[in-house]
């Protein structure tokens, strides 16, 4: 696997810089003869777009999915599915300072360190815009294991713990952050239901390992924990060994048929101050990141699922 592909036999290859011509994805290993609903695909893309919340970035592109290959009469052909989304709204002047001042917490300097060259007009490959490709791939992965249900809930934003989603109070908090050129991080808690037993591998590709790879590849995600998470540090063996649920649906690296439970830590966006007030920047990415999380989980589970099919008679 090179760094722009993910998966063994459900292989997702992402391409596109934030200020280039288009973002896109190629999915190799999609099983044939599966019905595709282009309206549902578009709905997934729309979920990751700003606008649902007033505070999100004003880079509100149409993000229309254009299918280049792999479908015929709305069925998968078993051939590579290529989908692109054009970058129609690149205001690269918004980023004109990056050329001379690499932003702390961004890929600006490290991209130069690595490649010796950089498209200074934006975040390039490390931009949040790249997640368009992941959401498209996640839609197709979801068609393979439709019974799986993923709930990704925001359980903390900044100092606020959330019991039931974003309410008026949190929305006001986010608006205030935006006005002040400030930003916040938080926590997303995920429960995955109806995972088949037997997914994952006992060695390097333990399900918790590949899920961590998938989810820590999301830009601002800074941590992950499974089951009871941080509480594992203090709980004694006798306290956790009585109940399978403590392990979050994975034992010995393999799904046990119970719900998979995990928590993700997100950092505040690094763009703050004057730029954050004026530019097209979110004060908090958590409201937009749920479809990306769900997509990476679907892609991961789907690859394990197809691997498992090849093993069994």
């Amino acid at each position: 696997m090179s760094g722009n592909s993910f998966g063994n036999i459900f292989k997702v290859t992402s391409f596109g810089e934030s200020h280039g011509e288009a973002m896109g994805v190629v999915i190799d290993g999609m099983p044939p003869n599966i019905d595709v609903d282009l309206v549902a695909l578009q709905a997934q893309l729309d979920r990751r777009r700003p606008g649902a919340l007033k505070v999100s970035t004003s880079r509100n592109e149409a993000d229309k999915a254009i299918i280049l290959s792999g479908l015929f009469q709305n069925k998968t052909l078993g051939t590579p599915i290529a989908v692109i989304v054009k970058n129609t709204n690149q205001k690269s002047e918004d980023y004109k300072d990056i050329k001379t001042s690499p932003r702390v917490g961004h890929a600006d300097q490290t991209t130069l360190d690595k490649f010796g060259i950089k498209d200074h007009r934006g975040g390039g490959r490390a931009s949040g815009r790249e997640t368009v490709s992941r959401v498209i791939a996640g839609y197709f992965a979801g068609l393979i294991i439709p019974e799986i249900k993923i709930n990704a809930d925001i359980t903390q934003i900044g100092e606020h713990k959330l019991a039931s989603g974003i309410d008026k109070k949190i929305e006001d908090y986010l608006l205030k952050l935006k006005e002040n050129g400030e930003s916040a991080g938080g926590e997303i808690s995920v429960v995955i239901e109806n995972v088949p037993k037997g997914l994952g591998d006992p060695c390097f590709d333990k399900l918790k390992a590949t899920l961590s790879h998938a989810l820590l590849s999301i830009g601002s995600c800074m941590g992950i924990s499974f089951g009871i998470g941080e509480a594992f540090k203090e709980k004694l063996g006798s306290e956790i060994s009585t109940d399978r649920n403590n392990f979050g649906g994975i034992e010995g690296g393999i799904s046990n048929g119970e719900d998979i439970q995990l928590k993700l830590i997100f950092k505040a966006p690094s763009t703050v101050g004057k730029n954050a007030k004026e530019g097209r920047h979110d004060p908090c990415i958590l409201p937009r990141v749920a479809p990306v999380i769900e997509s990476m989980i679907k892609i991961t589970l789907c690859d394990h699922y197809l691997m498992q099919k090849s093993l069994l008679r």
Copy 2:
């Protein structure tokens, strides 16, 4: 990559069940003409063996590394390095209950779910014994990037936060746990010094993503976080964006030349009660897991390092 290999071009393939003939590893992609010190390799293997602490499992095998290929006159040939360690001390009767009673928190039941067959004599591939293979591979990875220094310190065991390693108080605590058939989890904090700039990839193989894959593939590791970790949830953007160090040495998925900082959550071993008192089980794996953590980090960094070499003129 199938589930028993790790790495793109420094490719580590692990094999062996805990109660089979031998554990072993094949390393493909080892550069040629590098001096190998077999005494130093053996010293790494000895570090992960029990015995340093009285409380560790009494399965104290010699773990002698036998080199099968890849070396000539103590230099690497550039050909695959195969090393095995024989399983000389399998007391499978210790595990006789597993056949009928799968252990909670272990791979017993999930291995059956996945494969429909299991060697009932022990933990099989998911056993801690498999980490022998990782430590061997880690030694060789370390030869490629010798300047990197990894400090993996235990910072919590059960309810005890540790400032300076395991002292008499903690050792007594662990002995007491063992006597009671009890076990504890904890936290290990890692600092990696002298990491070259430019390792990692801006997309799926962000350095934090591949390190997470590597480290969450260790049996009892239940969580990882980078930089200031849990604190990211509450810190505002203005609080973190002033200091690069908050991001733990990785920006945009790529190493920035600063120290990489990460924390790992470990659960208590699931074996408790009568079995834990009598069998060869550790009441806490943290004292033994440091060389495994270091090895997985070296393997990961080394693979990124060789990938990076291929890119640059």
Copy 3:
């Protein structure tokens, strides 16, 4: 590797069906900071188009390369390069009989056997049109090892052995075939100059093995031989061991710095009779296949070259 990708670290992923929206390719692993000449890229694409010879298929599409990602100001960024070519000239009615009558020697029936579904409007992934993607990737591969020179000469068409390319006699022969709804195969002989020493691997990825994989993945290529080829069957050891050149530039699977010599067998296109007269079909693919052969060779050598760079200090 899944079936639509080729290469380890210079990884080419091809997509597109002959009668879908577009053909395309993603190249992951392209080194950064390399100058790209879009006119030269287009010239390569034009070489594989029909028209140079009057007898070629009348499906004469513009085949304009559209760069979607990976370039900035005509330099490579080190990010994935995605390029597409639209299918603007799909006359699917030409293929209307395929739906009911699978063509012998084509992928029509086997695609159904494999996938259970098929875009009946043309050859799908197995179409010669897919080679557009390969020629694009070959152009970029060629930028990495510009010193390599590949000569792919037609040395036989049907019953005619060619000493110096296609002359008037051969052109007449081909026109006659077309008029008669007939087709011919032949032989292409390749000499690759200036190959660096040390490319290839002593085991499964011997250079002759990966070149064979690359070249036999071209639709009508039915055989390959290296060095003196067929003559190896009768030559005694003493006759061949005196001259390195007999081995065609590869010893023990690794390039030795001499010219690499190989020969390829091509079958006649399977479309004959009425369809061949009327449809957009070539009576012989050899005049158009040279740029595809060169591209697959460049892709293969370039991947070995980058792998080799990662090994050496």
Copy 4:
């Protein structure tokens, strides 16, 4: 895939130098719960050993397969199968001249060119001895698709065309070659029966491409052709398009359920003269190479077969 592994999900990793401690193989992706017959495995290894013919190399090692992992009570566990064969009969003094005089047609010089170091005691990874690993892997691959039957017949040795295997005349010819320090090449013709429909991929992993990769990775194999082979050069489209059999069981890169037919060209061993008379060298490798050919074919088909299983419901 690095150069010592072959296959996507039935992944074979070979290791061992001819004069090191042992040859070996790790097979990752072997389905669980399959009965293994160790006597039958040993019989396959014995087939590739010298001795059946008096003229073969006198390096007649026991080649006893030692199972290190992956089996329990003679059933596969679904975990990696590791098998080694010790090198007990290394007479490295036989090779003492190699150190100073690299042999033409061998890997001696190119190994140095590539790695800058070489075990001068023998052929290293490029030695025929490495095929031990392939035969072991081939045995296990054969268990997955037991219905497939492979016939690999010698159809030419030197100037002699063979109708029915090696008879007294050919045996005398080979003995004479050996006495004279001479060697011969030849041709092996392969028919593969009972291949399931649908194996192979329409693009880079056409079945003819992966089979070519597999078979050209055998040391002295210098060419391959499918179906009617060389005759394709002269046959017109109308002559071949009437009969599926001409295409050798593969259409559009995918198996069509008919017998797969292919021919392989082998060169004469490069060791001739004084060394060939005295050393442990075969005057012709064809009598010993059939099990290696069969093994590489089984490995290739088995990988495609498991990939295909993952695709279909």
